[in-house]
């Protein structure tokens, strides 16, 4: 299992990178399959698939069999619309049966466009942006009160950083010296349907977090070795929260939809799903005819 090879200072082995890449490919297959019959937030899910795969398969002390352990690590997915990546990861790692994904948007289950706690492993529901930084802060505060040392991680989108409450929570986390709290930014460079820098520019981003009292690292969010190096360095300071900005590509893995402002939410035909799955494996771009959807 991947976990056994973790937390050493050597650079990641080729075998481990290969195993993580294969797992990420299976998660991307789930994301593509969820992108029909109503669709899902495909582009936003593909950008953070590698990040979630790395965290759950390797870094985090969270497993299907320790979810009741109050000393386990916590991951809060504040950017809730990328839940297909989370559910794909959970299905592959045994948190939920893969068959449950077939219940997407069906009333016989609770698998919908944003996460909820009926799925084991989901720590808190999200959907409204800018909420889970403060919820994660509360959990990190309780861990400190109890003298526990686990990681509390909150993943936000980059567009989500428009919400003032992300910054408010970081300000409070800095004031309370929350070194057990880590903000991870899925920096895929898009808001809902517009490039971040064309609407509400975020750059220079790292100095903003530093100005709010955090220690920041910026990495390629699709590079497993870089992810490992960054996360193994946590906490970056003994008296400050940490921030890891993961530069990612919206739609990563499917060249036909990569970096496209109009591929945030996708609802493809079954023929397109077949050809997107081929594209995923061959890296040969698919020709899409589905109407794009503007949701926000």
């Amino acid at each position: 299992m991947l976990r056994q090879a973790q937390h050493d200072n050597d650079s990641m082995t080729t075998e481990k990178q290969q195993a993580l890449s294969e797992l990420a490919l299976r998660v991307r297959e789930h994301i593509v399959r969820l992108s029909t019959d109503g669709g899902c937030f495909t582009g936003a899910s593909l950008s953070c698939a590698d990040l979630l795969v790395y965290l759950y398969a390797d870094f985090l002390n969270v497993r299907p069999d320790n979810l009741q352990d109050p000393e386990r690590d916590y991951l809060f997915l504040s950017k809730g619309h990328d839940v297909p990546a989370l559910y794909g990861t959970f299905a592959e790692l045994g948190f939920m049966p893969k068959e449950r994904l077939a219940n997407h948007l069906k009333s016989n289950d609770s698998i919908y466009w944003h996460p909820n706690r009926s799925v084991p492993g989901v720590e808190f529901h999200s959907g409204s942006l800018g909420h889970l930084p403060s919820v994660a802060l509360g959990v990190a505060m309780d861990a400190k009160l109890r003298g526990q040392n686990q990681h509390v991680i909150v993943i936000t989108g980059d567009g989500e950083l428009n919400e003032g409450t992300c910054w408010e929570a970081l300000l409070v986390a800095s004031a309370h010296k929350m070194n057990n709290l880590t903000f991870v930014i899925d920096r895929n460079h898009f808001q809902a349907n517009i490039a971040t820098e064309d609407l509400i520019p975020l750059e220079p981003l790292a100095p903003k977090f530093e100005a709010f009292g955090a220690v920041v690292k910026r990495i390629d969010g699709h590079d497993f070795a870089a992810l490992e190096e960054a996360f193994n360095g946590l906490p970056f300071s003994q008296d400050k929260p940490s921030v890891i900005i993961c530069d990612t590509v919206r739609g990563r893995g499917l060249p036909s939809i990569e970096r496209r402002a109009d591929r945030w939410f996708c609802n493809f035909s079954s023929e397109e799903i077949t050809s997107l799955l081929q594209e995923l494996h061959s890296q040969e771009a698919t020709k899409l005819t589905s109407e794009t959807l503007t949701v926000r």
């Binding site: 808190f124 930084p133 403060s134 802060l137 509360g138 505060m141 309780d142 400190k144 929570a169 300000l171």
Partner: protein, 317 residues
Amino acid sequence: MNYEQLIHETALADERLLVMTAENRALIRNLPGPLGARFIDTGITEQTLIGAAAGLALRGRVPVVHALATFLTLRAFEFIRTDVGIANLPVKISAFVPGFLSDGNGPTHQAIEDVSLMRGIPGMTVFAPADEQDMLAMLPAIWASPDPAYVRVTTRPATYQHAPFELGKAEIVSEGTDITILTYGMLFEQALIAKDLLTEAGYSVGLVNLRSLKPLDEAAVLNVVRGGSLVVTLEDHFQTGGLYSILAELLLANELTAKVLPLALKERWYKPGLLSEVLEYEGFTGQHIARRIGERLGDGEHTFGAKTKVIENEFAE
């Protein structure tokens, strides 16, 4: 015993209880020392306060959060609804200076839609004690309950010896065949004066201190309605969404009707000033309440005594 002593004692007896504030320490000024890390001040951040309280409750804590009623229920509304409400977490909201109690602050600080907003959240319970004694009788049961709770805090001294509190039960002060005043919160004090003035004028007057708006003591209210008296809903709240609406919903659900006089703020914020000025100007002193009820009954005879003397609030931010 005051609020601070009660929460201190409760926190010592129950390690789940945490005291939190968005830099509103009026009620809990002396607790940072004794409670140490279990006293959490997030600064002027009502949204983060509520989100963090949800996170703490997720881990088994019972956070009692303190800030001004208006900023909690309005600025942080979505956090209360989405983080506390959807997860149904036992976050206890101590809302300071609700209704007329924000007296001189002006409309930015007037929480007069709070009951309406909070009762609209599934699972949220809503309480409004009449005075400090009433509040101290109510809080232990509210904090011990597994439900999220919103409490309209008042520290005004009691002018009435209250009955013991039972969750979801109203306090029946008197029953009347001519008039029954239903009220909650700080206006109970004025309602009691109005009741005496109306009684002196020869009316049979009932008075109910609702204490809990959600759950509502439906049996007690239906009993009042079936008694056939004029029902007065008295509240320092917008007329929309508060007690008048609650009564209307109850009547409709039970296929009943009643003669009802709403005394509330209709489509307007109130004139800011010292509490005595506010109550006098807005017509909510004991004497004004009695007069407005008398008018509704076509009473041209009584003046209902002299101007009511109102004890001012102490300023506390």
